[in-house]
């Protein structure tokens, strides 16, 4: 049984984790300015699976907001792109998790989130910021990296869930994490 305080602290923990991932990404050199791996989405997915949709929303929105404060991009064009992408991704992922009739693993949900993220960003960039619909030329260059990133993030989250889900759900301490070769864990 999860107590509100426990859920609150774990949401905060995952928000901090997502924030660190987000800041780590801004340091990474990128061949294409828009091609970020989306490591922060790991935090959203973990929150969605371990704590529920409300926590996933909180983790995402707080990460976008606090991240923009830290890198000084609050209300920049990039901030609106982040916000639109993050909101679209978390909306699609929570909907698939809730109404997907158990037909999607975390990898499929991660991919759907990546797709929603790219599409929302391109729509906002095309309609609001650039104001030219020729921005669709960028779509392939955004979608292929996003496909790759979505799979990587999904597999990473799957492995993380396998390792920490039993502990978080049972309320045990995270210090008792099982070794990697233990097979009778939850996938």
């Amino acid at each position: 049984m999860m107590f509100p305080a426990q859920r609150l602290t774990r949401t905060a923990l995952l928000t901090g984790f997502g924030l660190v991932m987000f800041l780590f990404e801004t340091i990474l050199p990128r061949p294409l300015p828009w091609a970020k791996p989306g490591l922060a989405n790991i935090a959203t997915l973990l929150a969605l699976y371990l704590l529920g949709a409300a926590s996933a929303w909180a983790v995402t929105l707080l990460r976008v907001l606090l991240g923009s404060f830290i890198i000084g991009a609050f209300m920049n064009p990039g901030f609106w792109l982040s916000l639109a992408g993050g909101m679209a991704a978390v909306a699609v992922m929570t909907a698939l998790k809730r109404y997907g009739a158990n037909q999607f693993s975390v990898i499929g949900i991660s991919l759907a989130g990546a797709l929603a993220h790219v599409l929302a960003q391109i729509i906002v960039a095309g309609l609001v910021i650039v104001g030219r619909w020729e921005i669709v030329y960028l779509l392939p260059a955004m979608l292929w990296p996003a496909l790759f990133a979505g799979v990587v993030i999904g597999v990473t989250t799957l492995l993380l869930l396998e390792q920490i889900a039993p502990h978080l759900l049972s309320g045990n301490s995270l210090r008792n994490i099982k070794p990697m070769n233990d097979m009778d864990s939850h996938w």
């Binding site: 499929g108 797709l115 669709v136 030329y137 979608l143 292929w144 496909l147 070769n181």
Partner: protein
């Protein structure tokens, strides 16, 4: 349990953890990516076509006529061997009929972009497509005599 067996079991468990919806999302993603490539190409082609390219038609040394590719027209020309019919339609130009023996020009099909050519060697026909900028005032494309024509 050996390390190899453990990793094999992990892999099996991994595949089992995939759900049918994952493949669907993956295919949807690939479809979007391919579709956007295709849409971008389509838009680019339309923009190119809208640029009002012009086909300059020469027979031997003589500039016969020019035709804007945005129009629809069909005309008959007298080549070195005999008559030939050219048609301009849907932003392209092609040879419909020719009196030449090998029909290479007819089989070539339509051309539509600047720099592309239609050539009929027996009839000494050369159709060269120019971009819009060559039609700017004062810069009318001089019918080039070519460096050399050999056949």
């Amino acid at each position: 349990m050996t390390a190899a067996a453990a990793s094999r079991m992990r892999l099996q468990a991994f595949w089992k953890s995939l759900r049918p919806g994952d493949g669907f999302i993956f295919m949807l993603f690939v479809a979007f990516a391919l579709g956007s490539l295709w849409a971008g190409r389509l838009v680019r082609a339309q923009k190119k076509a809208a640029a009002n390219f012009v086909a300059h038609i020469r027979i031997g040394d003589r500039a016969v006529r020019s035709a804007a590719l945005s129009e629809t027209a069909e005309f008959t020309l007298r080549g070195a061997v005999g008559e030939m019919v050219l048609r301009v339609e849907s932003n392209s130009i092609r040879v419909v009929r020719s009196s030449c023996p090998n029909q290479v020009c007819v089989k070539q099909g339509p051309v539509r972009y600047p720099g592309e050519m239609l050539v009929c060697v027996p009839n000494r026909l050369v159709v060269l497509i120019h971009g819009a900028e060559t039609r700017l005032p004062g810069k009318a494309p001089a019918p080039s005599r070519g460096d050399a024509v050999t056949y």
